[in-house]
């Protein structure tokens, strides 16, 4: 609150000090997109800027940027915020969140200029990328370590088969000999299946991301399992939020994830004798986070199983019914989309698996799929630029 005794000169001096020392980038832009005022942090980062075009300063470009928040503020007369990627005076990539606020002349007058206040989030972005890499490495480590669990069971089965066969031979017991051979057969088949699945997992495929309707994939998966569920006497229902904007997903990867969850949920229901067995597939968007949810009222899991489901080739479906790779693949695909998998489960009550995708962390669309989504505003500028650079 200024003191009543302050002179206009003192106020101006205080304003200049405040403006210049504001610890974020501040620039005032006129209707020609020329910078008419910039604070010290802006000048130090992007260089002397008076009279130069904002896109020249921020991004070293020669023409205005698409999805410009200043342009939006001029045209709509309201504040706009977006995440941008620029280049500092030394040529380093800089990430910042910028809010463009319209500045009017007289009361309710037209917008004369726009003030852009930007916060440098470059380090935050680097940390986020480092975290993603660390998560992926951890998943690989856990996968390799987890292989042991499945293999150890198969080795025990093979050793058992060999022992039973030898014992049959020694005792001239044909029945036992046959049992031993059958055990060997079973476990050789299991290890072959296991190795094929693991190789498929390890080799994987590069996500082919494109703008898709999230509800469309969920609907396909529900349709795929509708008949299986009906045959098993399980009610499979879809509860999709009406309008979820298109988002960049690998449709095949997302389909695999949801199919794994629905298949597991049906298996979990089949293990109970509940007459009202049900599986519900939900989609929703909350605060820029797209969520897919698969809920069942099946067998549920105790804490021991919950801890292991994503870290091993871990199956509790019983002999011959799974290698435990489904959730591992799901986790891998979800992580490749910058998302995470949550699970809530109670033994005897059922489980809810949620695939949680913050839209800001979804990967850029690849190759032929660079077109902007049909039903929403263009993505943040840096995403669009990167997408085009790949085309």
């Amino acid at each position: 609150m200024p003191s009543p005794v302050m002179t206009e000169e003192t106020l101006k001096e205080q304003y200049d000090i405040l403006f210049d020392n504001t610890p974020c980038f501040v620039a005032v832009i006129d209707r020609d997109f020329r910078i008419i005022q910039a604070n010290r942090k802006f000048r130090e980062t992007f260089g002397e800027s008076y009279g130069r075009f904002c896109y020249e300063m921020y991004k070293d470009k020669t023409e205005r940027c698409p999805n410009c928040p200043a342009e939006a503020a001029f045209s709509t007369g309201v504040e706009h915020t977006s995440t941008q990627t620029g280049v500092d005076r030394d040529g380093r990539e800089t990430h910042y969140v910028v809010t463009a606020t319209p500045l009017r002349g007289a009361a309710n007058g037209s917008v004369k200029a726009v003030m852009e206040i930007a916060i440098d989030v470059t380090r935050l972005r680097e940390l986020e990328e480092e975290k993603l890499v660390a998560e992926r490495l951890a998943a690989v480590g856990q996968t390799v370590a987890g292989l042991a669990h499945g293999v150890k069971n198969v080795i025990t089965g093979l050793e058992g088969g060999l022992y039973v066969m030898k014992s049959g031979l020694k005792n001239a017991d044909v029945e036992q000999l046959g049992k031993g051979l059958s055990m060997l057969d079973n476990n050789i088949e299991r290890i072959s299946h296991f190795v094929k699945e693991f190789l498929g997992f390890a080799k994987g495929r590069l996500p082919q991301t494109q703008w898709i309707n999230p509800n469309g994939v969920a609907r396909d998966v529900v349709e795929l399992y509708r008949e299986t569920a009906a045959r098993a006497g399980i009610a499979l229902t879809a509860e999709f939020q009406d309008f979820i904007p298109e988002a960049p997903f690998d449709p095949e990867g997302l389909h695999t994830c949801l199919a794994n969850l629905v298949s597991n949920a049906l298996d979990a229901c089949a293990m109970t004798e509940k007459k009202d067995a049900r599986v519900i597939v939900r989609t929703k968007k909350e605060n820029d986070i797209i969520i897919f949810e698969v809920t069942d009222n099946g067998i549920g899991m105790d804490c021991e199983v919950k801890k292991k489901v994503f870290t091993n080739f871990f199956s509790t479906k019983g002999s011959g019914k799974g290698t435990g790779i489904g959730l591992l693949i799901t986790k891998k695909i979800v992580q490749e989309h910058g998302g995470r998998v949550d699970v809530v489960s109670e033994p005897g009550q059922g489980s809810t698996f949620r695939l949680i995708f913050p839209v800001s962390r979804l990967p850029n669309p690849t190759n032929e799929s660079c077109a902007a989504p049909r039903n929403q505003a263009a993505p943040a500028l840096q995403d669009e630029e990167k997408a085009h650079s790949r085309c």
């Binding site: 042991a148 669990h149 499945g150 150890k152 069971n153 080795i155 025990t156 089965g157 050793e159 058992g160 088969g161 022992y163 039973v164 014992s167 036992q176 049992k179 055990m183 079973n186 476990n187 293990m271 067998i299 105790d302 021991e304 199983v305 801890k307 292991k308 870290t311 091993n312 871990f314 199956s315 509790t316 479906k317 019983g318 002999s319 019914k321 033994p347």
Partner: protein, 162 residues
């Protein structure tokens, strides 16, 4: 495992052709993999034990109540009910709590329990650790000797498992 017990055992494990006179010792195998269950059952029978299998974990307690084993071999990762849940239930069961339990699992009691080693977890719930933890694939001689030792220990020490 109860490493100390295994290290003691390893120094005195005889060959598989050792004394097979284990008659009247009853072993219940709780294992969902039919091949592994059959293997352990045939192995134990060959060495004179009376062995029964239960491949459905939800029926394991009833099987133990009926069969009244001298020792239980327990798998950890099973559908419907896990070995951890079963172990806790067995140790809280008034008539079964004294029966020694030998865990036979592909899991390692420390490495594979991320938050807390298995022993610490059950102790936190006031339950003693299993007598022995054998990791799959098993060493046959060590497995057989383990069964003999835990039964001997049980008979020698007291009727109450601790």
């Amino acid at each position: 495992m109860p490493g100390s017990l295994l290290s003691k055992l390893k120094t005195r494990i005889p060959s598989e052709t050792a004394d097979r006179n284990n008659g009247h010792v009853r072993v219940l195998i709780i294992e969902d993999e039919p091949d592994i269950a059959a293997y352990l059952q045939i192995l134990l029978k060959e060495y004179g034990f009376e062995a029964a299998c239960e491949t459905d974990a939800t029926r394991a307690i009833a099987a133990a109540e009926t069969f009244r084993p001298d020792v239980i071999c327990l798998d950890m990762v099973m559908p419907k009910k896990t070995g951890l849940t079963l172990f806790m239930a067995l140790k809280k069961h008034p008539e079964l709590c004294h029966i020694p339990v030998v865990v036979v699992s592909a899991l390692h009691p420390q490495r594979d329990f991320d938050d807390m080693p298995f022993e610490d977890f059950v102790r936190k719930h006031g339950i003693p650790a299993p007598d022995v933890w054998l990791e799959k694939p098993i060493d046959r001689a060590a497995f057989l000797e383990t069964i003999r030792v835990v039964i001997g220990k049980k008979r020698h020490e007291s009727p109450t498992f601790s």
